[in-house]
């Protein structure tokens, strides 16, 4: 039996034998933060099925746009201390607006930035059967080479040379040398740190521009790469591009 169990037994016996008349305090010292992702195609809010164009003038309509957000932490102001949010593995799925935002509870303080991992960390990729947003039924787990698809685009383009003019970008890989997870750090604009308040929900909006996948660090034209479904250099090239997918929107406590 584990040490924690022995401590639990000892503490439980002490509690049970003591008087139980003391009231529990309501104050946890925590407040809520709502993080909302706004999916864009360039400057436009993304609509599945609508036609957009990347910087090469290639057309693209999105059928799927999904990505994992995890390992969220905040920068405290003014200490600069890192505050870890409770363990979160969240799948943003363009097809399901209920996934665009989620709530976190942390102790009340002032914040000057948010940092998170785009993707699922390597430990979680090798830790066996998972549930919630990490459930393989979310269609983001490779069965033949165990590991998560960190970010996915599926769509159609007249510039695609493959069947159904499909664009299929399943970006996965977590091992050294083929890691497509990316640490995303979004400091709040200078002078605009936000103070959390008891009973209020601080709002953080983050924009995610899917068209950044095709250019930036690497030119990845749809005509040349309509498909990426294995770990490797092409996947890490997409990851280098989508590192710059996120920009901070508004941050405030109402």
């Amino acid at each position: 039996m584990k040490t924690g169990c022995y401590l639990l037994m000892i503490c439980s016996v002490l509690v049970l034998s003591a008087s139980c008349s003391k009231d529990k305090s309501d104050e946890s010292g925590n407040a809520s933060i709502r993080v909302t992702f706004v999916n864009l195609a360039g400057h436009d809010t993304m609509q599945l099925g609508s036609i957009y164009h990347n910087t090469f003038g290639e057309d693209l309509s999105f059928q799927k746009f999904k990505y994992y957000i995890s390992n969220i932490r905040f920068t405290e102001y003014p200490s600069g201390r890192t505050i870890n949010a409770p363990e979160t593995y969240h799948l943003v799925d363009q097809a399901d607006p209920s996934t665009y935002s989620f709530l976190l509870q942390i102790p009340i303080t002032s914040l000057s930035g948010i940092t998170y991992l785009l993707g699922v960390d390597s430990t979680r990729n090798v830790s066996g059967a998972q549930t919630g947003d990490l459930d393989p039924t979310r269609d983001m787990f490779w069965t033949w080479n165990s590991g998560y698809i960190m970010a996915k685009i599926e769509g159609n383009s007249t510039f695609s040379s493959v069947a159904d003019q499909a664009v299929t970008l399943h970006i996965g890989g977590f091992r050294t040398g083929e890691d497509v997870t990316r640490n995303i750090s979004l400091p709040f604009p200078s002078g605009s740190n936000v103070r959390m308040e008891d009973g209020k929900t601080t709002q953080i909006f983050i924009n995610a521009d899917a068209l950044t996948w095709f250019s930036g660090a690497h030119d990845l034209k749809i005509a040349e790469h309509p498909t990426c479904t294995t770990p490797g250099i092409l996947a890490t090239n997409y990851a280098d591009n989508y590192t710059r997918m996120f920009t901070l929107g508004s941050v405030y406590t109402p």
Binding site: M1, K2, G4, C5, L8, M9, S12, V13, L16, S17, N125, V126, S127, G128, A129, Q130, T131, D135, P136, T137, F141, T143, W144, N145, S146, G147, E178, T230, P231, G232
Partner: protein, 339 residues
């Protein structure tokens, strides 16, 4: 009175703390003498009789396949040490075949560097996802299978007994199967009893063991009879299957045509042999090493010049390898189809 109640409440709390269902019976995973620590240690998946029973039922349940015809047990047959008897590659949905030979399922908790011939599966718990979703194998989706289990009156009670409530999801299904398969330990062959001093090899078997230790044991290392590494043993490529093995996982040219060293335990009943089952007898495998190794760019240095031995040595080696059959395991009704 309060203290007794406290202890009962606390022991239940401890079970919840460790994620164990109330009233469940923990199973011991006994490491056989001489075996190393297992790589899969059931962390966050403590094996219980109830979890094992659920895993066993799932293993034999055709509903995990699209047309009901392909439970895990259809390719993993107990009388063949849970390989597919007498099939180079196994049957799948719609008259298709698998790409590779089905390995026996024993001592899976000790597999390192990934499961499968190419090491592509990194945790025992997620292995079933591969055959379950492969269109040429069980041809299902995880979501569909979970829905079938939810609709089957036999399952909610078993999930509750194993995991504490009637929630049925893929994680619990996979953990239960891992509890069942993970408990399949094979370490009671004649070889094992000889090692313990309980039996003796015949002179021929003893001679075969000596040949084995001299010529096979680097890759097929005791007591697991594999070192879990990936090696190219000089098999000419099958140009219909075009299976490059480990390279598909690592993308490294030096891994081309490398496949995981299979365990030789129970080898007498797990034929045909090789990643694509191209050898119909143990003798044919030995003759490949003697006479027909293809010395290519990634062929393993240990075998590239062949492994020579006389016909007598070969015969005795085969007799030795037959001593690796664990009939206790093969006949153990604990792992058989539930009534």
């Amino acid at each position: 009175m309060i203290t007794i109640t406290g202890i009962v409440l606390v022991s239940e709390a401890c079970r919840k703390h460790e994620g164990l269902a109330p009233g469940s019976d923990v199973l011991q995973f006994t490491i056989p003498a001489g075996f190393p620590e297992p790589a899969y240690n059931f962390q966050n998946n403590t094996p219980t009789q109830q979890g094992f029973d659920l895993g066993r039922k799932l293993f034999y349940d055709g509903q995990l396949s699209v047309d009901g015809n392909f439970p895990c047990a259809s390719c993993h047959q107990q009388f063949a040490a849970f390989s597919t008897f007498d099939h180079p590659r196994s049957h799948g949905f719609n008259n298709q075949f698998t790409l590779r030979n089905a390995p026996g399922l024993f001592n899976m908790a000790w597999v390192t560097q990934g499961l499968h011939w190419d090491g592509g599966v990194n945790n025992l718990e997620v292995q079933p996802l591969a055959p379950l979703t492969a269109p040429n194998e069980m041809a299902e989706t995880v979501e569909n299978v979970v829905n079938k289990l939810k609709a089957d009156p036999a399952y909610p009670g078993m999930f509750k007994a194993a995991f504490g409530d009637e929630t049925i999801n893929s994680q619990r299904m996979l953990k239960a199967i891992a509890q069942f398969v993970g408990m399949m330990i094979s370490a009671d062959s004649k070889y094992d009893r000889v090692k313990k001093g309980q039996e003796q090899f015949s002179p021929e078997e003893q001679g075969g063991y000596a040949t084995f230790q001299a010529k096979c044991a680097v890759c097929h290392a005791e007591p697991l009879f594999t070192d879990n590494s990936f090696r190219n043993t000089g098999l000419p490529i099958n140009e219909y299957l075009n299976d490059f093995g480990r390279m598909r996982i690592t993308n490294k040219p030096e891994d081309s045509l490398k496949f995981k060293v299979p365990s030789l335990r129970n080898v007498n009943i797990t034929g045909p042999y090789g990643h694509d089952g191209r050898f119909y007898s143990i003798g044919a495998v030995i003759d490949h090493y003697r006479f027909s190794v293809v010395d290519g760019p990634t062929t393993d240095p240990i075998v590239k010049n062949g492994i020579s031995m006389s016909d007598d040595e070969k015969d005795n080696l085969i007799l030795f390898l037959r001593t690796l059959t664990d009939t206790t395991f093969v006949n153990n009704t604990r792992f058989s189809q539930p009534e």
